[in-house]
Amino acid sequence: MADARAEILARIRSALADVPASERPGDVPVAREYRRADDRSRDELVALFAQRVGDYRADVQRVPPVRLPEAIAQACSKQGLHRLAVPAGLPDAWPPAGIELVRDEGLSAAELDRIDGALTGCAAAIAETGTIVLDGGRLSGRRALTLVPDHHICVVTADQIHGQIAEALAAVATAVTEQHAPITLVSGPSASSDIELERVEGVHGPRHLTVLIAEPGA
């Protein structure tokens, strides 16, 4: 059998006979005239992020950092959560008393399935789209942690919120290139529009998403 790789590359080169041999990829112009940065104030961005996350029917709340444990406890009692899986690097100051924490040191999917919810931080957030960026690191946790349990409580600090997609992707670029970090973008709870193109929340991923924005002075 001929080498498929060599054959496909040869077919590509013959299909592109019209492209001058001297042309380099960078010679094909790409106009980046769209917004790559956002000049809105921190306050405006936090407000926009909160509103956009809320549009996805996630629970969202702006709280001062010292009141995080209280807000987390409230979210747990509202949803009836008693045991939370947490990533290794979760700050000690976040979790409230009275909730059992299970540190994720390689929990299996079946073990995660028996835990009420997950409590994590994140790597960045996008105001324009109401998106949380997870990078598999010490705050975000492994991918399965925020996927298998039915509830995800995510703490976003105000300084992690960017206006544009471009800024948030740039914030995790080094983690991707240097550590091959898996990146997950989360915008609201899981949903489906497969029945009559009507959005229904809560399919295979967590059915409930709570976002707590830790904001000095909130």
Binding site: A4, R5, I8, R11, I12, A15, L16, D18, V19, E23, P25, V28, P29, V30, A31, R32, E33, Y34, R35, R36, R52, G106, A109, A110, D113, T129, G130, G136, R142, R143, A144, L147, I165, A166, L169, A173, V176, T177, H180, P182, I183, T184, L185, V186, S187, P189, S190, S192, S193, D194, I195, E196, L197, R199, V200, G202, V203, H204, G205, P206
Partner: protein, 480 residues
Amino acid sequence: MTPSEHPSFPVAARTALADTQLRHNLAHATHSIRDKRAAVVAELPDWEQLREAGRGLKERVMRHLDDHLLEFEAAVTAAGGTVHWARDGEACNRIVADIVAAQGVDEVVKVKSLTTEETELNQALARRGIRAWETDLAQLIIQLADDQPSHVLVPAIHKNRTQIRDLFRARLPDAPADLTDDPERLVQVARAHLRRLFLEAKVGISGANFGIAETGTVCVVESEGNGRMCTTLPEVLISVMGIEKVVPAWQDLEVFLALLPRSSTAERMNPYTSLWTGVCDGDGPREFHLVLLDNGRTNVLADQVGRQALYCIRCSACLNVCPVYERTGGHAYDSVYPGPIGAILTPLLSDLRDHRSLPYASSLCGACYEVCPVKINIPEVLVHLRDRVTSEPPPDRHGARGRVDPERLAMQAVARVFASRRAYESAQRAARRGQGPFVRNGSVRQLPGPLGAWTSARDLPPVAPQSFRDWWRSTHPENG
């Protein structure tokens, strides 16, 4: 595949048009998504700049596809992935089946992927004794109904909630007997049904929305979480990616992730986007295989006008705005890729001779071009393909060459008449005298004899009682 296996679009469309339930379901779905899309697009002041950047990036990739693929392959390999190349669907399916078989399992979970539908991977796996579970809700509906997808994004768009409820009751043993047609209840049944499979599957199979040459990252964009399940929990992950899905750099995602969700599901962002780079110790699959698929894409690349069809990011906005798709649905296109993009991509990917009617499945209104997030000029490619259809000989199963083409002869006669004012005016007079018996309610519904083929799917306005020239001559005798 022989030409006879593909019914022509007008013939296939007739079945769809006769199904009033189908037309109702389609009109409801396409109109609601159309309005939502327009609203989220209008929210961005720089939408046109994003489209132009998306188009430019895709043009850059296609003109240097070999360079980008080699860079991508090297980056995936460096990150611990294994890259396979498949020249056609059969080769792709064999590669995937061999990897699955090597794991000693007979069950895999799958994320919805048009590319693996194109290669008919599930059927190929079944022949090797491997059951592929579709985990996307719409794909599950299609699989349970033994049906064919009819939309790129919402494969079961032709089914309404009651039809889906009835299907779940009949085909899912764990569906409750009192199941209603409330979409929330239906979604919960699917969740319960697939949960065990996700937690136990050893092998996951996905497609890819984007592959980033610079970093070797693969991107899957989805809503339900089944994509995250399939790409995270199994020990082995196999992703099948068309060679045209590569994009140059990590930074370029900022363009495509802005364009795709707003164009497809009319959301600011889809619920979940997974981006993984090879394998990651302790997080996700321990083995990652990427299959790069040609399967006709290099044919598309070789057509300088048609090349832009490879820019497609499978958003389906062109389906939702198309006046033809809205009425016929996806099945009439007889392809994994229906709608306006399918009308150009299908003949270019396979063989124009097998799909001669598809470039005509359009009124050339241009709505598809206006909404396309990467500015594929679909009307331009349709006209180009129509030109190829008329200039390349039709397939002839009887082996006779140079057969007389009546349409071609008729068009040549029309060209002669239109070239001469005298011939044109006397033809007008003759038509005016002769058309009487064929005019019904102000239009010609059925022309006589062989001309009837033209009016089988079109109405023709009758020749006016007085032409503009006649009117001018009668009112301006001094200028006559």
